[in-house]
């Protein structure tokens, strides 16, 4: 156990010694962004339970362990040891221990640019300017008009320390064939942290599908990773952003998505989480343009002593926007889960349609879920609904299945599967097989 303020000081010291190696220092704005971010983190520290967005569970090992950015293991890896790229995948970017080690693709269609953050810093820094925002711009603004930066202190830590990331830039009216995969693998040394900063920009009328595939590490050291993705969809653009998040019991993974949507754009966010460790998934969507819409689908599958959290915040900032959130949580053994979902409708955002459904299935007496749906509605002409339920497997349904000859174990699997299908069936055709494989070995009954 180390004193928390000592640890904050150590991160600041670590930042100063790391600084020369961090990318983008030649860009004034990036240097300022990093410096301001570490100051903000030093002021706020890791969010504890006094922060509303973090008041359900305590992350084990987050605040009382100092994580080093220095990675003893090399970033090199024998590429032939990695599973082959799916033929439907247009571009695959492989990160090993938090750094891009390979980008695979055949000939890229014109207007599709996928590369590392470092590549863009060197070759097209103007593109990045303004897309990675100063840390304080991610602060929560509360109903009381208080601006609170504490919930986003890990985004600040990420802004200070990020060493790499993926940049996806799709030109006007380009429909990307297949999908883009951002694959993360690792065999980190103990007490390591890595921060990934990505930008996805879809110009007007373009369409793209991305999967962020976060695999379990090869060892089970205490590792803390944060991924922050800034997404901007211009008028009429459509993005499907899929995150499959695995992890080992000693892993802490914090994943933040910030999406801003212009007129008539559409954002689909699918997250499947089956980490054995601690994983937190945050999705913030700003519906800024009329006719824009977002769908957030989340499936959390916890077992053993895992802890999964999802936080959503969908902001309807203008007239005639639409959002839907479907969150399903299945918890077994001693696992923990939390869902905090917020729909915010700004003043004047009439014609808003917003729905939220959170259902949880507890398979064990020791599993715990906390669900908190919130609506903040400041406009008059809106249609918002939210529903949250927590339950166990239905005895009536189990008996019905068993009375037809299905053994209890298989009947349970079938019912659990049907529960998760609500999310899986929303995944696009091109990725549904991968989604099913991802949850296989968890709860999926292969028939």
């Amino acid at each position: 156990m180390t004193n928390i303020s000592d640890i904050k000081n150590r991160y600041s010291e670590s930042y100063n010694s790391m600084l020369p190696t961090l990318p983008g220092l030649e860009l004034d704005w990036m240097k300022i962004l990093r410096d301001d971010a570490i100051k903000q983190f030093h002021q706020d520290g890791f969010p504890d339970k006094s922060v509303e967005e973090w008041n359900v569970n305590s992350f084990r090992g987050l605040m009382d362990i100092f994580y080093n950015t220095q990675q003893e293991n090399s970033y090199e890896i024998d590429l032939s040891s990695i599973e082959k790229k799916d033929p439907d995948c247009l571009v695959r970017v492989i990160f090993n221990n938090g750094k891009i080690i390979n980008i695979e693709h055949d000939e890229l269609p014109e207007g599709v640019k996928v590369n590392s953050l470092n590549f863009f810093i060197k070759n097209n820094p103007d593109f990045l300017k303004g897309k990675i925002k100063p840390a304080n711009e991610y602060s929560e603004s509360r109903l009381s008009n208080i601006i609170d930066s504490r919930p986003q202190s890990i985004v600040a830590l990420n802004a200070a320390f990020h060493e790499d990331g993926a940049i996806v830039n799709i030109d006007k009216n380009i429909e990307v064939p297949g999908y883009i995969e951002l694959m993360h693998i690792g065999d980190y040394t103990d007490n390591t942290m890595k921060h990934i900063r990505s930008v996805i920009f879809l110009d007007k009328g373009s369409k793209c599908e991305v999967i962020e595939n976060i695999q379990s590490h090869k060892n089970n050291n205490m590792v803390f990773t944060s991924h922050v993705a800034d997404i901007h969809l211009c008028e009429g653009a459509t993005l499907s952003y899929n995150r499959f998040i695995s992890g080992n019991s000693n892993n802490i993974h914090i994943n933040n998505v910030h999406a801003q949507l212009d007129k008539n754009s559409k954002f689909i966010s699918n997250s499947l989480i089956n980490s054995e460790g601690q994983a937190r998934n945050e999705v913030r969507v700003n519906l800024l343009g009329q006719g824009s819409s977002s769908n957030i689908n989340v499936l959390m599958m916890g077992a053993k002593k895992s802890m999964h959290e999802t936080l959503t915040k969908v902001k309807h900032a203008t007239k005639n926007t639409k959002s839907e959130q479907i969150i399903r949580t299945i918890l077994d053994e001693r696992s923990r889960g939390s869902f905090q979902g917020k729909i915010r409708v700004d003043e004047g955002a009439d014609g808003t349609l917003a729905e939220m459904s959170g259902k949880s299935l507890l398979l064990s007496n020791d599993a715990r879920i906390n669900s908190k749906p919130e609506l903040e509605i400041l406009a008059d002409d809106v249609k918002c609904s939210h529903g949250v339920t927590v339950g166990t497997l239905s005895k009536e349904q189990l008996f019905y299945l068993q009375s037809r000859g299905i053994p209890e174990n298989q009947a349970r699997k079938l019912l659990i599967n049907s529960f998760s299908n609500t999310i899986i069936n929303n995944i696009s055709k091109i990725l549904i097989k991968r989604a099913k494989n991802f949850i296989l070995g968890e709860f999926n009954e292969n028939d």
Partner: protein, 251 residues
């Protein structure tokens, strides 16, 4: 004819309340037995006990099915051994397609009996043939199990499942409840098509009308947890005329 099901002096409690109080009943292969009785007599309890539902406490008595002690078998094994309960209120299972459900059930039973499982194509072929026999549309294969089904559709789906699983002992628990005359006729015809030398049926009903179509071989009156009178199908007609009270008093 050989006896398929032999219930001897069965006493059953549900939440500390005695429901069956010494029920005895024999059913032979090929026999269709109707069980009629007033509300609360224990008809549905009998069906649940035979299918193996939790919460039914057998205090004494025995149930022999095909020579085995039925009460010792878990629910799914009873099904694999040929016991089928058509539910009074079929259960909805959102997220599971009817065809997936029936195929999973059929293959689980086959696996249990050491038979080869059916692949998707073989299954579909069989399901289509059975649906056709029952004059049912194939649309419902894809629909979620019983979700949004009308009362008639639910009961027909039960008969379809029964037909797919080809049981030896079929228990129809108030299959006629909630059905209009046309639906009743269709369901009864469906059941009649499944009758054979081996199949024995227990038809639990309140009304004589279902029996007009199903033509039971025996009719048993269940009152206060016991069979109080047994006869042929004319007993149902007497019942219609005199009511349960008249028959119970006379017996």
């Amino acid at each position: 004819m050989t006896i398929a099901l032999e219930i001897k002096d069965l006493h059953v409690e549900v939440s500390d309340k005695k429901i069956l109080k010494g029920l005895s009943l024999n059913i032979e292969h090929g026999e269709m037995a109707a069980i009629m009785g007033p509300n609360g007599a224990g008809k549905s309890t009998l069906a649940s006990v035979l299918a193996g539902k939790e919460g039914y406490n057998v205090i004494s008595g025995s149930v022999k099915y095909l020579g085995n002690n039925l009460l010792d078998m878990p629910t799914d094994e009873r099904a694999a051994a040929g016991v089928f309960l058509a539910f009074q209120y079929p259960v909805e299972i959102p997220g599971v397609a009817t065809s997936t459900f029936v195929r999973t059930a059929l293959n689980a039973q086959r696996r249990h009996r050491g038979e080869v499982e059916l692949d998707a194509i073989e299954f579909l072929k069989l399901a289509r043939a059975k649906a056709k026999e029952l004059e049912m549309s194939e649309d419902f294969f894809k629909r979620e199990v019983n979700v949004g089904f009308s009362g008639g559709e639910k009961k027909r789906a039960e008969v379809f499942q029964m037909s797919m699983l080809s049981p030896i002992l079929a228990i129809l628990d108030e299959t006629d409840s909630g059905l209009d005359i046309d639906a009743l006729k269709i369901v009864a015809e469906g059941v009649n098509k499944l009758r054979n030398d081996k199949l024995c049926g227990i038809v639990i009903t309140h009304y004589q009308r279902l029996l007009e179509y199903l033509k039971p071989d025996t009719v048993h009156i269940l009152a206060d947890g016991k069979i109080v009178k047994t006869g042929d199908k004319s007993l149902a007609l007497v019942l219609e005329e005199k009511g349960y009270q008249g028959i119970i008093e006379a017996s």
